[in-house]
Symmetry: none
Subunit: 212 residues, 4 copies
């Protein structure tokens, strides 16, 4: 008689769905993720996903919203306390790197979305990504105004930063497997710490901005 009634806690259930959805979407992609699998993963009835998120796309939107807000919050919090443009830039890159490393679904989802100009979520991706880039762009502008940075192409620099950091994170398993297989030593950074990489990227960007 007593059926396994679930939590009856709307917010908790929603959160559980989103969390498991993040994992699945980031590993299998949007089309490759099935609602059936997701419902099993989070132990909730399949219909509940539609009850809370209307449809698959709605859930995906919630997922992307979530992770883009997370990374944005993580960066703005750290940056607020920084003074100089130089330090702010360093903070931006290092925070992004360590966040991407500890939340590897971010690079996976971001690269997937960006790889087709956000075929699934054009507008939302656009506004969210825009905010993050605006932050980066502002730092560069401040540096220019302060006379510590050269004139630059912010968009390209931004992509150099997040492109390299994202790829370093997503290809980690690939590179480690390669390291075990490879005869000759091709330096693939298979054992590098994210801190060292973030640091290296930072100094590279600064070298570019400071010029000869």
């Amino acid at each position: 008689m007593t059926k396994k009634i679930h939590k009856r806690d709307a917010t908790a259930s929603k959160k559980s769905i989103v969390q498991h959805a993040i994992t699945l979407f980031s590993t299998r992609g949007y089309a490759g993720t099935s609602m059936d699998e997701l419902s099993k993963a989070c132990g909730l009835n399949k219909a509940m996903i539609f009850y809370y998120f209307k449809n698959k796309k709605g859930l995906y939107e919630a997922v992307m919203e979530e992770i883009l807000q997370e990374i944005y919050k993580a960066i703005t919090q750290k940056i607020s306390s920084s003074k100089s443009a130089e330090v702010q830039l360093e903070t931006f890159i290092k925070t992004y790197g360590s966040f991407a490393c500890s939340h590897p679904y971010l690079p996976a989802l971001l690269l997937k979305e960006l790889s087709d100009s956000g075929a699934v979520l054009p507008e939302q991706l656009f506004t969210s990504m825009r905010k993050l880039f605006a932050l980066f762009s502002d730092i560069l502008k401040r540096g220019e105004d302060e006379g510590v940075f050269q004139k630059s192409m912010p968009m390209v620099l931004y992509f150099m930063v997040i492109g390299s950091l994202n790829l370093i994170v997503t290809t980690k398993p690939l590179r480690q497997k390669a390291a075990n297989l490879d005869d000759i030593a091709l330096e693939t950074c298979s054992e590098c710490e994210i801190e060292d990489i973030s640091h290296y990227v930072t100094s590279n960007i600064l070298a570019i901005l400071k010029g000869a």
Copy 2:
């Protein structure tokens, strides 16, 4: 009475399938591409896809093999004639950039595959990508040996190059739409030519490698 009799030319049919598959895979992703749609796109019976490529994965492998060989050939041909490490590096970056721009499926497919460490094609992606990176890495080493380049982290630099170039290409539509919508001017390079960007990336990487 007149059935849609097809060309009866194996190589032509295979090529047609691969070409249309490239388009679909790069825009919709692996899971999002349907063999039905593909067969309609290339005007061939669905069964022919399986006749030639055994299954969906087999076709995808053929597609990736194709484009990775293309870009590798494009780069090695141009590089062979270059002399100094510096010029070779410039050639690498500019060739990659212009190829990616004229064959925009390359960045799309590459980013998708790299975004989950090649979930679909682990080994093949690995070997093919490895060859391209080895080329890049060799140039850096030669530069070091010749004393014109500083010591560096080749993997990170490589990802800075292809990360930025790929993202510039794939986000082009997104950025152009943004430019029309945006009130304030955020420099998103929506009108930049790929030559200028490749040139900028090149000089940035050289700045990094040449140091202060």
Copy 3:
């Protein structure tokens, strides 16, 4: 507007699927039965078959499980009340015969499965068949112990019994058609009652077991 809403009764739906599957599998064989046809036959959506039985093989297993249990139950119920080995043997044969006649899918399915050593369901067929044969074999042994039966080859006798009864049932339509067509009288038992045949088989087996 009025969609074909179904009963929403799990056990009823499952039963309906199994019942119609029995008919189809027994007439068309495993490979010859299509899930599409089955779904139409039982008025349920095709997906429901997979919802309840996972896949075609799973359904087939359920079907075989069902009918083998049925015949086993039918026989054991009747036999339990019998006293002597002789009567038990008679009960076994006659029950099997009348059951096979009133449930003609049993011989059809059994012969098909046995005709290739259970290519589809090796283990299950094995255990289920084994139980039935063990019953038969036990009766013979008891008869031997009691001194009323001669030593015999139980497996061969068993196959003589179920072989003949099954074939009589499955070839019934064939033999009746033959009777109409045939000029000369070939005694094909086209009008025989199953009771007479079971009786004849019983007395034959007893003749064998009692010896000269």
Copy 4:
């Protein structure tokens, strides 16, 4: 330039197709056998099967025709020289047994066909089977006329003979696997020679026909 042109020997090709078809039909059944697989098995182009046999059913007919003629010939040859009804019956049973054992596709195909009254080949199966049964029936009649056999039900006796022999052959692998797995000894004749079984069946039938 020189393509692998095949034998160009019509009868040889046809024979090869039939031989391989026998194997496949007997193991996988009619519906379970694919023309693709068959063409690969016999190394001939798929279209040739249709060139020679019109369609799948036509090939199946040829296959059944072939094996039913084989067994009929094998038996009639041996029987012609026999004198008494008793010896003829013995010859019938033993020849059938040894042929079935050395050509195990016969029992497999026969049981499959008989299990649904020849759904695929009603008429042909009917005439061919009829001939074999007529042979058996004639022997019994002669025995009756000679006063050595009791009155009997030929159809049932016939099915007891071929039912048991066919099942013994087709279930051999099943019974051998069972023997290895089984803890307690259930006499499944897993190691019996066909000669012993044929002999046992013969003496059983004779016991029936000679009566008390």
